[in-house]
Symmetry: C2
Amino acid sequence: MHNLDPLRDVTAGEVVAPYLHARAADFLRGLRIHGESGSDSAGAEEAARTLRAAARRISGTLHTFRPLLDTAWADQLRTELAWLSGTLALEQAYTSRLVRLVDALSRLSSTAGPVPAARGGSGTGPGTGTGSGAAAGAGAGAGAGAGAGLTVGAARAGALLERQLTLARTRAHSAALQALGSARFHAVADSVALLASDVPLGPAGASPAMEVVDAPAAVAERRLLESVAALPLTRAAHPYNADALALATGESQDAPWHRTRHLLRLHRYAAEVLHTGGEPDPVLYESARALDRHRDAAEAASAAAAAARTPRIAPATAYALGVLHADQRHEVEAARFAFQHAWRRATAPVP
Amino acid sequence: MHNLDPLRDVTAGEVVAPYLHARAADFLRGLRIHGESGSDSAGAEEAARTLRAAARRISGTLHTFRPLLDTAWADQLRTELAWLSGTLALEQAYTSRLVRLVDALSRLSSTAGPVPAARGGSGTGPGTGTGSGAAAGAGAGAGAGAGAGLTVGAARAGALLERQLTLARTRAHSAALQALGSARFHAVADSVALLASDVPLGPAGASPAMEVVDAPAAVAERRLLESVAALPLTRAAHPYNADALALATGESQDAPWHRTRHLLRLHRYAAEVLHTGGEPDPVLYESARALDRHRDAAEAASAAAAAARTPRIAPATAYALGVLHADQRHEVEAARFAFQHAWRRATAPVP
């Protein structure tokens, strides 16, 4: 899955270290952007994004190539980076969750016909159709009624979600600022600064790369393949199977997909380490995007369900939140379909 | 689309009349079953089913082959048969709508995992999966919560729908009984009794079948093909396009599909008339079933939306009805997908 040339006549440490140096440099750049951003929110966002991307890659590399490193140091830094990226991720997560839910509500209650862009579909049906007597008449009539009812509830549901998620985002924002000002963060920054020039290797770090560097990457790949093999891909390839819509159980079945998303990320980072400068695999990227969408839709659905448990909401609001919840679970199912499609292409023999 | 052999050396009347005689005999048999059923509900159902099937076929034949018949008589009887089958159809429609909605609610709120039979899918995913950290944990937790919340609301929503649809069904039942006892019905029965032995033909009825009997059937087929051509089949072939989920507009877009369902039925009856004793086309049958499912899901969704507009319902009930509404619209989209699939097979060149 990667070419071996860069591994000739070098030690394992000489393969892993340059990657960690580069990501550490990215991290320090993010730190500088943060320092310069001040009250500029765009700058602050870029800083957080840069810090998170670097932290994820460093931590993933420490995890996958642990056998080559000073394990005590690696485990300790990995814990701290997990804390940091987790803290920095929340604000962005709440923001995009709100955007996703508000977009879905406007699509669901829109009277302007389906939006082709809504789910990347192309083309739409005829906006009007000649009637087909009672059934169609009733359907259209009730539809208009449902639409009207939904428009009222959708506005209230949108306002409720906006209140709840904006509050959560504000809390996450202050938590992130607090973290970036903490002694704990400065300790992480110091370790990463060292990492930019010096990687604490273990004994195996000095062995020839060709002997020891493949094994950890192979483990990461095997874990990914095992995790994918455990997914119900045949079922997911059957459109409209409605698995994800079994609300009481469907959501507990998200875990294997979330786990696969995590392992796919580790695999991608390991590939980055091994063919430095190599092209990222577009199909793996597509599979990863499908699993990101799966995660986002699942969390958005949970947020809609949580909002519906707010005491004393109007029935119209609860109704719209129910529609929204089912819609986002439908998105979860669509993301599973998209993943199995991308993955089949990734693993299909090239024609 | 049909073989011409039965048309050699006979008049148009001699082709259409036997079919009408046979359907009229079915109608009279249904009438006998009704007379004998008394308080036996199974018998009453069979009677209604038989009467409706015969009435639909007679009325469809009078419509399609009108040019060969005594048009004044045909139009008048067709109006009466439309009234009758419409009246007899309602009770069954409310019954199956309630069954569909209650089944969907139990599937949605089930804690027993997805039911493979639920939408004809096969195989299910692993019921459990090893966790993937915070995201999955949160998802599963919120899922359980959503499940619990839904279970409460689903029970109430089910009770509400049961009340509303049972009341509607009871009214439809008495309306049907009243209709079957009315002078208007006896007049229809008398005309159909005559039809069992004698079909009032127009001038063209005496012409050679090969010259005049094809045209009306061809018109029915052309109307069907034009209606299907106007459907957004490419869009429907794109799974999870979410068209049917644009609730405010999606339902007004059902009409062309309902209309196609009606025209497909007329086409099937015309085919029955022309190759008497011939095999029904299994793929056309499958397409028709998909459009029946489309109609049933669309009307079930409207019923859920209507129930959600009941004053003073609990938010949990409204929430479950919202989930149910979106779920049935998801079924509408699935039925459109199934139709385009079946239709593509119907029209694909045989390999």
